[in-house]
Symmetry: C2
Subunit: 450 residues, 2 copies
């Protein structure tokens, strides 16, 4: 076997005898098969799982899905193909001709010449039942099988599109010209390092981002917390104000969402129709309006004047609670709202002081969105050596953060950044109530099913 | 401040008084400025760090770098701008006119109208010295500052390009047509879950990949091990043989490398020139040849017949050691070589048995590459319920892996996958000897500097 190996370019083609034309049959994904215009008997092979079986006197109809799209491909076969093994959940390989469908429900269908059951499915033991719409809570018990349903299939395809959209927002294909907007055509550093480490990189590359898993030992069973979640973080050097950052945040939210809507409209539609009715309009409302900005001080005033009784009394110097966030978003007409300039004592040492004694706020920003509350958090970072040195000394952190202080000694620049919780983002656009349903394998307190 | 906010599209434009033409000056990244063809006095602002200063009687030359490219932008200023603060390592903002350079060394230069020192740099304390080429070992002591050097800048830009290239290999922009090759236009599930979890997803989506950090408590100080490293993993359903997987591995390696070479040739060139001389030819040799395939049995025979004395005697049933891997690659003319069909007892329970008694091998595959050794590892997975059940029972794992066994009960399909160590990949193409130099913040045994 030692010797040069020729790459089998035709590996995905297998010879066909039964097809009328003497040519190879192409393996096609369901999504691609469905997209074929003017099908005229092309010999193809499709592989996937049976989603439905309908047996008539002389004809057998199967729907085959391979996860590439919400819609399944209709397979039409002679009833002689019928067998007990051709059942809901079984995996099959179907070879045949792609033809125009006579039904108006689909463009094309596959006229089967050969059907092979690859793996059978024990219907009794299979927790997903034929033609039933299972609640998300029920499916959560079966993290290893739930992706075989329409709902989780759609959610996870959206997750995938959103991942790609985020990457392309930060790293468009590079063009050499004087750009209208020049943004983030720069290193993507996927790390678990988080913000302080991103600041290191922004001190050489000016615009950096990272996107990956983040771990928090949050002892919370809430519908918006996980022990392992995904976070997009960005850091920008030479920023002039929080406005610069808010522009990037709003741009990220809107560009990502537009790309998801254009790339997998059916999947989004399914969520909006069956999981969160009314969400379509709520999302459009968010996208077509400019996000709002209020200061923390204004937020506290709004809350104080609210007719609603809060469990936690709103007060200057105390963090906003979920109930407060919800009220503020409603008060702002369900448009996402940036809350800026928080009291210094509520925020970590690295946020930039606003020099507004006696208020003593820092240039922090949170974005609150309908249904979810806090989606982004960010700030300008303290780039002034002596200010940072004093704050570290006050916290007794000078020794541990000498390296961080160093960054302000050798060509320091004004900079800032933010993080966005990726699962919360998906909850926000899809209207999915529980965060555990927008991640393939949720890990949270006292639960690690897989 | 409550109220609609208009997005400042012109945020990155700032008004200019000193420029002759009454128009705004665009903020430009160095890479974009360098790419301007036929510069003719455009008013621009550039921000970055000073890489060199040369003061002549009437003219001051600065080189400004912002991490967007290896090359810096030459700034030409009247000597009246000269000041002690305009020194190596300082951060600056320069406003001026982009003009054709009279020197042949660059296309354009920036005729400064205004130079602002944003942050000074203490030359004495700065561990990076002007005009010195520091060894990578020295720079490793300063993970928070080393990205300000040419070498680390280039390596990390390549890392970023390779990241993007991997994403685009697995997830090309979707086209609706009968594709020549249809590959991986499917969900990208970034998780830390690893292979068993990817198998769950491949049981609904047929082709999936993940790319993210992986953690191993490897007690190794070797030049190719880290406690935290990045891994690309892919899983493909309906595969027919190891050939299918090897085709994807070879395709991933070659497509990613070609994209890196075309997107940041200067950065790769710098590594090949100053870090690993001769690497350029070695890489070309890898790219232009088809990768080879040998079986584990053949590998053992080759090693037994070798004239070289090994520390570990090569023997059937024993794992290949680094010295063996190196020998095999050399033996194969420094072309990457797939080693397939390992003894079952060397490999984990999930790999597919080859039914070749008495040899008793599994359908495993490792790719060995010059300089690095093992780069990929993969296998077909055992998709047959009863075979897997027996193997789990033998290992006493039946209970813990009931969910994994379940996947073989409900529409099981032949499938397989692989993982590629991302840092080792970067070492392999760039010729960087130590893995700690191709990751922003290396974490390994007894070391977590940042």
């Amino acid at each position: 076997m030692l010797g040069a190996r020729r790459l089998l370019g035709a590996l995905r083609l297998c010879s066909s005898v039964s097809c009328p034309r003497p040519r190879a049959t192409a393996k096609l994904r369901v999504r691609d098969a469905l997209g074929v215009q003017d099908a005229s008997g092309e010999c193809v092979t499709v592989q996937g799982w049976i989603r439905s079986v309908r047996s008539q006197k002389e004809v057998l109809f199967l729907h085959v899905n391979d996860g590439s799209s919400l819609e399944s491909l209709q397979v039409v076969a002679d009833s002689s193909f019928d067998s007990r093994e051709l059942a809901f959940g079984s995996s099959v390989q179907v070879q045949g001709q792609l033809v125009k469908s006579q039904s108006k429900r689909q463009n094309v269908e596959l006229k089967a010449e050969k059907i092979e059951v690859v793996g059978t499915c024990e219907a009794k033991a299979f927790p997903i039942k034929y033609k039933e719409r299972h609640p998300l809570e029920y499916l959560r018990q079966y993290p290893h099988l739930r992706c075989r349903t329409n709902a989780l299939g759609s959610i996870l395809r959206v997750r995938s599109e959103a991942t790609a959209a985020i990457h392309s927002y930060f790293k468009p294909s590079s063009k050499i010209k004087v750009p209208e907007e020049n943004f983030f055509d720069v290193p993507a550093f996927l790390t678990v390092s988080g913000q302080l480490h991103l600041e290191v990189m922004s001190g050489a590359f000016t615009q950096v981002f990272t996107f990956g898993p983040t771990f928090r030992a949050e002892n919370s069973q809430s519908r918006r917390h996980l022990a392992e979640f995904y976070m997009v973080e960005a850091e920008v050097s030479f920023v002039e104000s929080l406005q610069d950052l808010m522009q990037v945040m709003e741009g990220l939210f809107k560009a990502t969402t537009e790309m998801v809507l254009s790339h997998c409209p059916e999947d989004v539609e399914l969520c909006h129709q069956f999981i969160a009715s009314g969400q379509k309009d709520r999302l459009e409302h968010m996208l077509k309006n400019n996000f709002l900005i209020i200061s923390y001080a204004e937020a506290i005033e709004i809350l104080k004047q609210a007719s609603q009784n809060f469990t936690f009394t709103p007060k200057w110097g105390v963090d906003l609670q979920t109930e407060h966030e919800k009220y503020l978003v409603r008060h702002c007409g369900n448009i996402p709202v940036f809350v800026i300039n928080y009291p210094s004592e509520l925020k970590p040492f690295y946020m930039r002081e606003n020099e507004d004694d006696p208020q003593n706020t820092v240039a922090a920003v949170d974005l609150l969105v309908p249904g979810v509350g806090e989606l982004f958090g960010g700030s300008l970072r303290e780039e002034r050596y002596h200010v940072l040195e004093q704050r570290l000394a006050r916290s007794g952190l000078t020794k541990a953060y000498q390296w961080y202080l160093d960054l302000r000694k050798f060509g320091s620049v004004p900079h800032g950044g933010f993080g966005m919780g990726f699962e919360r983002y998906l909850q926000c656009i899809l209207g999915v109530d529980n965060i555990k349903d927008v991640i393939p394998f949720p890990r949270f307190t006292h639960s690690c099913l897989l």
